[in-house]
Amino acid sequence: MKTADIAQLLSNVYDPELGIDIVSLGMLYGIRVGERHIEIVLTTTSADCPMGGAILEGAETYLRSKTSGYEVNVNPSYEPPWAPEMMDDAARRQLGLPPRVKASA
């Protein structure tokens, strides 16, 4: 299993308040795939987000259901704190923000 596959799977987990998937929101801080082990680092839009626990649990439950044979751990991290710049353009569009300005080549 590759990290890109894990990211793809996690794009099916939504922030229930915003209705946007956690990958597009930029909440996915890290993926480590071992022999029989997957470790995920996630953040939430705020450490005070009451949905934070549900999002972390949801991501873990979903990955476990889709990656049989792997041990899955989802850990929270608030360093660096989440920032709007971490969202992709699709998420920004849903919140009514303009697309990110791309750096010129």
Binding site: Y14, E17, D21, A47, D48, M51, G53, A54, A59, P81
Partner: protein, 438 residues
């Protein structure tokens, strides 16, 4: 680092939901009583029917909603568990019985019944304040919302204490209850209890729901200190039925804290990432507009001669009360109800299925269009009541009462509808390339 707040210790939905579902009945009662009011409403702000309407709305609707919301808020965002869920359940029963009895006794001006009902209400407030006080004290850090809630709880008890003295005095006839003394009780409740609650909770909910990253309110602590001090000073001064210039200075002082808060909220909104405002954001903005109106009307009422007997002296005070109570305090509570209750329903009903099957998100629990219709109807009713009061138009006041009751009934129906099973209405798909290219 672990999340600092969590709904894990959230009280059961069966405790919180009845507060939200019973509260609009207070507004329905207030609206219906207004719709059958006569022109005496423009002459005396302390007419029994007007006092009954005010308490039906303030205790029945606003206070009941705030109690339910804060029972939820304490463990989820303030970080402290309530002392007892059972005590909260008992409190709800005592509270609803006490309000119904109290409003009835005020409407028919039955002094003996007033004493009994007031005793029931004091018991309700004590149960609530002890339960919430423990929840607030158990919090992990002194955030702005926690400090506002703590101070507001104190003002609830002071307001209730003064109210009980007035009720006993009606029965015993110890001393005259002047309009100034009533005004002291009213402002301790309106600004000290309701105002501080709305202001404090908004410092938690506005950044959360509008996705404001690293929100740093500029005037939060200052607004709290100024509001708390000024309401004490104002109540002490207005208690003595002072001359106009003293009332005016008091009104200016009293406005300063809420105005600072409003400036802060506007600053926060400008920093939001969620550019498309939802019902909570719109309700908060409507509340700010009504606050501006309430400040202007309050200052006008203080400069006029409403505290002495002349032709229709209660008009400005009535308009001010409508703007402050229904507009400034009422509209954000409508907005909050479409966040707190759907969140609870989602958390208790769908959380365990996250990731396992398509589930609704919080927005799917309620209809945004219906919520906005309720907000619009309530705001229109409030404007009509303000206009009716200002221009002494009884028909406008009565129609405003009907609209108010209709908006409350619609609010109640939309909240009941939230409990019906929901399906995910959106099959959102972010293009794979967009995800993988990150």
């Amino acid at each position: 680092m672990a999340a600092r707040v969590s709904p894990t210790h959230s009280p059961p939905l069966g405790l919180i939901a009845p507060f939200f579902l019973l509260a609009p009945i207070g507004l329905i009662a207030g609206g219906v009583l207004l719709s059958v009011h006569d022109s005496v409403v423009f002459v005396a702000i302390n007419h029994p029917h007007t006092v009954a309407v005010t308490h039906a709305i303030i205790l029945g609707w606003l206070t009941t909603t705030i109690m339910g919301a804060t029972y939820q808020l304490a463990p989820v965002v303030l970080g402290g568990e309530l002392l007892s869920i059972r005590a909260a359940r008992v409190q709800l029963v005592v509270h609803i019985a006490g309000i119904s009895w109290f409003v009835w006794s005020l409407f028919y001006w039955n002094r003996l019944a007033m004493v009994g009902a007031a005793a029931a209400l004091v018991l309700s407030f004590l149960l609530y304040v002890v339960n919430m006080g423990v929840g607030v004290a158990r919090g992990t850090r002194w955030t702005l919302p926690r400090a506002y809630v703590a101070v507001a709880l104190g003002f609830l008890m002071v307001t209730a204490g003064l109210g009980v003295v007035w009720v006993l005095n009606h029965h015993q006839g110890w001393f005259p209850i002047t309009l100034g003394r009533l005004s002291a009780h009213a402002h301790l409740g309106l600004v000290g209890w309701l105002g501080l609650m709305v202001m404090g909770v908004s410092y938690q909910l506005v950044p959360m729901f509008s996705v404001i990253n690293r929100a740093r309110p500029k005037f939060g602590w200052l607004a709290l200190i100024i509001t708390a001090l000024s309401v004490v000073v104002f109540a002490a001064v207005i208690f003595t039925d002072p001359p106009m210039w003293v009332r005016l200075i008091g009104a200016v002082l009293l406005s300063a804290g809420p105005v600072l808060w409003a400036v802060d909220i506007v600053r926060l909104f400008r920093q939001r990432s969620r550019r498309r405002l939802d019902i909570h954001g719109h309700a908060t903005i409507v509340s700010l507009v009504f606050l501006g109106l309430a400040v202007a009307l309050g200052l006008a009422a203080a400069t006029g001669t409403p505290l002495i007997s002349n032709d229709e002296p209660a008009r400005l005070l009535l308009a001010y009360a409508a703007a402050a109570i229904l507009g400034f305090v009422g509209t954000p509570l409508i907005g909050n109800s479409y966040k707190v209750l759907p969140f609870l329903i989602w958390y208790h009903r769908y959380r365990s299925r996250i990731g396992l099957s398509p589930i609704p998100v919080v927005d799917d629990i309620y209809s945004g269009a219906a919520a906005h219709a309720v907000l619009g109807l309530h705001a229109a009713a409030t404007v009509l009541l303000i206009g009716g009061a200002l221009f002494a138009q009884l028909v406008a006041l009565q129609v405003g009462g009907v609209l108010l009751a209709a908006s409350a009934a619609a609010h109640l129906l939309t909240m009941v509808h939230m409990f019906f099973p929901k399906q995910s209405s959106r099959q959102r798909s972010i293009a794979r390339s967009e995800v993988l290219a990150r």
